[in-house]
């Protein structure tokens, strides 16, 4: 039955759904640092990186590496494609649950 669900498999996994939900709360021109995202999700850095890679490969998020002061920093943001896919996912989920 679950095979027939019109839910985007890239988003429909708890960890990535949490990542998408958190990044969707940002403004369209905002980015969140990796440690802040990690803190809001309560995930290990390795686990979060794995899921971020899948979302990045799907074109849903951008991962920007930069230098702040002397330390490397990583920022993440939803792409327009990611924002649209998340909107579609939310609608599909609401429809599926009879919302």
């Amino acid at each position: 039955m679950t095979d027939a669900l019109p839910l985007d498999p890239v988003i429909h996994a708890e960890a990535r759904l949490r990542v998408m939900t958190t990044l969707a709360a940002l403004g369209p021109k905002d980015q969140m640092s990796f440690p802040r995202l990690q803190e809001l999700l309560g995930m290990t850095a390795g686990n979060l990186s794995t899921h971020n890679r899948k979302l990045e490969e799907a074109g849903y998020i951008t991962v920007t590496k930069t230098i702040e002061g002397r330390s490397p920093a990583t920022y993440l943001a939803l792409t327009d494609t990611g924002r649209a896919a998340f909107g579609t996912y939310r609608k599909a989920l609401a429809a599926l649950l009879g919302g």
Binding site: R16, T21, A25, S33, L40, L93, L97
Partner: protein
């Protein structure tokens, strides 16, 4: 690591989670939305609460101790100092809330927030200058207090309305306009009722804004809601 969080794993090798129940997915989204909102979300409600309390408590000694038949005897200098302390506490809380709201983020929103914060500091430095000059002029302390306070509240109203324009937040704009209206009424009525009007009017307004923040934003949609409605 949040102790309440379940370990997050993908059962399928391709990373999809076929066993992830849609109802559970909805719960996860709502839970995460709430977590984000609580830790990092819109700080407006807490700002209104902080300033509502600062005004209510700060203006109260002035309201109680002024007029021909004061309820309590408090020297004007002490009453103004208590007000000043409440405002200082409000500023500290507002700075903490503002910094917390954008911590770990960069981009348009944090730049706007930073510039908006600076606009409060720069304009209130002028109020500090006004306060020093009025103090030096030898004016009656209560009249001096009224002038400085009236100018401050006009600036608060203008900056709240400006915030409403910057973030397309109609509720914030309306609250700013109400602060302007309350200040105008208080200035027209004058002393000693001025302090009661500001205490209950401005303090009460902001506490109500904190209490009814969500319904207010539903009635008066803002930029964020318009964004959600976009495809």
């Amino acid at each position: 690591m949040n102790a309440n969080d379940k370990p997050v794993v993908d059962p399928a090798a391709d990373g999809s989670d076929a066993g992830f129940d849609p109802a559970e997915a909805l719960r996860v989204m709502q839970d995460q939305d709430a977590k984000v909102d609580q830790q990092f979300g819109n700080p407006d409600r807490k700002m209104y609460l902080v300033w509502g309390l600062a005004y209510l408590i700060g203006y109260l000694p002035l309201a109680l101790s002024r007029g021909a038949d004061p309820i309590v005897e408090i020297p004007i200098g002490i009453a103004l100092a208590i007000f000043g302390l409440c405002i200082a506490a409000g500023i500290v809380a507002a700075v903490v809330l503002g910094v917390r709201a954008t911590r770990g983020t960069r981009g348009e929103s944090s730049r706007r927030g930073m510039l908006y914060g600076f606009s409060w500091w720069f304009s209130f430095m002028c109020i500090a200058g006004l306060s020093i000059q009025i103090g030096r002029s030898g004016a009656d302390p209560e009249i001096a207090g009224l002038i400085v306070n009236g100018a401050s509240m006009a600036l608060v109203a203008a900056l709240l309305m400006a915030g409403g324009v910057i973030w397309l937040d109609v509720s914030q704009f309306v609250i700013g306009a109400c602060v302007a209206l309350i200040t105008l009424i208080a200035l027209v009525v004058g002393l000693p009722a001025y302090w009661w009007i500001m205490c209950l009017g401005a303090g009460g307004l902001l506490l109500l804004a904190a209490l009814f923040h969500r319904p207010l934003r539903r009635i008066l949609p803002d930029g964020a809601l318009a964004q959600d409605a976009a495809p």
